[in-house]
């Protein structure tokens, strides 16, 4: 693009340096996958199927992660079920019903999005767990974890939805007005369906964030390895399991934890691909 000059050396050095840093990004991802694979491959080839059973007793060399996989899923699903509709409806309301408060609310929501997950967890321990404990002991539970996660993913879910609605062409609004639809009708029949794929794509990424969150869940879930049956029962997620046990795991136990890391990575990749597909292959971050 730029013509050759006398400073050829600096230029070719720059070209190479930039190429190197570009490669570095790919290398980081490759490195992460490689490390996880190298750590867990021998074990998975040998006892891969044992990982899917429902008995996690590292003390007795049993490494079935089914209950924790289920724990991760139910906790994140409930969080999304709580936060998703609130985020979508609130974003739509702010944009089409209360534009005057939209700016200040979004500013606040952006601040919320930056709050560390340990602080959400701390709030869960201080307020939520004692409150659920009075309702149905012990308190640290599936419900507590999902509520904390819901609050944690809500800000970004809201911002993503707001962006998706903002990208709709103004002519939709005009067409709706021309048809003299009520604003609710317009939203329901035109705007939300049009922005739907982009919104869902953003929510899928937030679901991934919930699945991958460690600290907030670890602090309020009770961390008992058990098939989740009641909202008030304690659960342990895959991420919390790594945080609880990695420090002292040895041998196959340690390998099993690396395998669960690999599983998390795989699920993240699948969710990301799903989010891309919904958005129509455009590689853009929320």
């Amino acid at each position: 693009m730029i013509t050759i000059s006398s400073r050829f050396h600096a230029d070719s050095l720059l070209t190479w340096l930039l190429r190197l840093t570009g490669a570095a990004a790919v290398l980081v991802l490759g490195g992460i996958i490689a490390v996880l694979l190298i750590q867990s491959a021998p074990f998975m080839l040998e006892h891969g199927s044992a990982l899917w059973r429902n008995d996690w007793q590292p003390g007795q060399a049993r490494y079935g992660m089914a209950a924790m996989i289920a724990g991760s899923i139910v906790v994140s699903v409930l969080a999304l079920v709580i936060a998703g509709p609130v985020a979508v409806l609130l974003a739509a309301w702010l944009r089409y019903f209360a534009p005057s408060v939209r700016r200040p609310v979004l500013t606040l929501v952006e601040l919320m999005a930056g709050i560390p997950s340990v602080v959400y967890g701390l709030w869960g321990m201080l307020v939520l767990v004692p409150w659920i404990n009075r309702l149905a002991p012990p308190g640290a539970s599936w419900l507590a974890a999902s509520l904390v996660l819901a609050l944690m993913i809500l800000p970004l879910a809201l911002l993503v939805t707001d962006t998706a609605l903002g990208q709709l062409p103004a002519r939709y609004l005009q067409a709706g007005q021309a048809l003299s639809l009520s604003r609710v009708g317009m939203l329901r029949r035109v705007l939300l369906p049009q922005a739907g794929p982009a919104i869902v794509s953003g929510l899928v990424l937030q679901f991934g964030r919930a699945l991958g969150e460690t600290m907030a869940v670890l602090m309020v879930a009770g961390n008992v390895v058990r098939w989740p049956t009641s909202l008030f029962d304690p659960v342990r997620t895959l991420t919390a399991n790594i945080a609880v046990e990695m420090a002292y795991a040895t041998g196959d136990h340690r390998v099993a934890l690396f395998a669960s890391g690999l599983l998390l990575l795989l699920v993240t990749a699948v969710l990301l691909a799903l989010s891309w597909r919904l958005r129509g292959e455009r590689h853009e971050m929320a």
């Binding site: 693009m1 730029i2 013509t3 000059s5 400073r7 600096a10 230029d11 720059l14 930039l18 190197l20 840093t21 570009g22 570095a24 990004a25 790919v26 991802l29 490195g31 992460i32 490390v35 996880l36 750590q39 609130v86 409806l89 609130l90 702010l94 019903f97 209360a98 601040l111 930056g114 709050i115 560390p116 997950s117 340990v118 602080v119 959400y120 967890g121 701390l122 709030w123 307020v127 609050l151 809500l154 009520s182 604003r183 609710v184 991958g212 460690t214 600290m215 602090m219 790594i242 945080a243 990695m246 934890l257 690396f258 890391g261 998390l264 990575l265 993240t268 990301l272 590689h283 971050m285």
Partner: protein, 276 residues
């Protein structure tokens, strides 16, 4: 106004409350527990009795060091990769898509996985042990995609006419990058750096098994050091009577993050900042 619209107005207001009330409660519970502890001494004293008494000075030092390592690696790497994307990879090509996909993936990787990687690679394989260096490097990898994306955005925002002007002057590529492109994009790059700092400060899971949680002022990059976020976790979970100081540390951390956020706003909307 028709009745569905009026109903929607009420529902929306209720939803807004449903978001604001828990948030208000969160701030209130932190203040209730922690406000009494916060003082100048809290910021200037080292923790005593596993953090139950004393302040957070040693943690501020550790956090600063970890952040410094993180930025020293992530900022140049991020800027380099962003330059590569904006200068050498034409948008829409296969390579751009692959790189973009890689970055999206890196951004989506759960932080505990960065922790696992950092623990295995930096702490064990490279022999750095539980140290500020291990923690900072693992954190650098985590914030890298954010850093790259925001720097790339800033670089791409530099008007095409500048590039044409550069070409007309037959300036070298290095000269163009150094004299025109980077200075022009500097505010945007600064925003990227601040956003990365915010993300790094908020992170805990990456640091548990890399930087470790020794509660003292580090003397070298090979010492373990506990970050503020890890301190909050440890006080809340593992220290009986640690809640007030956990909440106070949380308030300090949130205050820092809010200040960073305001800084970003000032950079992004300098016009607003002028009369504020």
């Amino acid at each position: 106004m028709r009745w569905p619209d009026r109903l929607a107005g009420v529902i929306g207001a209720l939803l807004l409350l449903a978001v604001l009330v828990p948030m208000g409660l969160m701030l209130w519970s932190l203040l209730e527990q922690g406000a009494g502890v916060i003082s100048v001494d809290f910021l200037l004293d080292d923790p005593r009795q596993a953090g139950r008494a004393g302040g957070i000075a040693a943690l501020l030092v550790s956090t600063g060091w970890i952040l410094a390592v993180c930025l020293l690696v992530a900022a140049p790497m991020g800027l380099g990769c962003a330059l590569y994307l904006s200068e050498q990879v034409p948008a829409g090509t296969r390579r751009a898509q692959w790189l973009g996909g890689t970055l999206d993936m890196l951004a989506a990787v759960p932080s505990i996985v960065y922790g696992l990687f950092g623990y295995q690679f930096f702490a064990i394989s490279l022999g750095l042990g539980f140290s500020i260096l291990s923690g900072g490097l693992a954190l650098a990898l985590m914030v890298l995609p954010l850093m790259i994306r925001s720097a790339e955005q800033a670089l791409r925002a530099v008007p095409f006419s500048y590039r044409q002007a550069g070409e007309a002057l037959s300036i070298s590529r290095w000269g163009w990058v150094r004299r025109i492109l980077i200075p022009q994009a500097a505010p945007g790059i600064a925003v990227g750096i601040i956003l990365s700092i915010g993300r790094a400060l908020a992170e805990t899971a990456v640091l548990l098994f890399t930087a470790g949680y020794v509660l003292r002022r580090p003397d070298s990059l090979l010492d373990s050091g506990r970050a503020l976020s890890v301190h909050i976790y440890d006080l809340a979970m593992n220290v009986p009577g640690g809640m007030p100081r956990a909440a106070a540390t949380g308030l300090v951390l949130v205050a820092i993050l809010v200040i960073l956020n305001l800084l970003v706003r000032r950079w992004l909307h300098p016009a607003q900042g002028a009369w504020q």
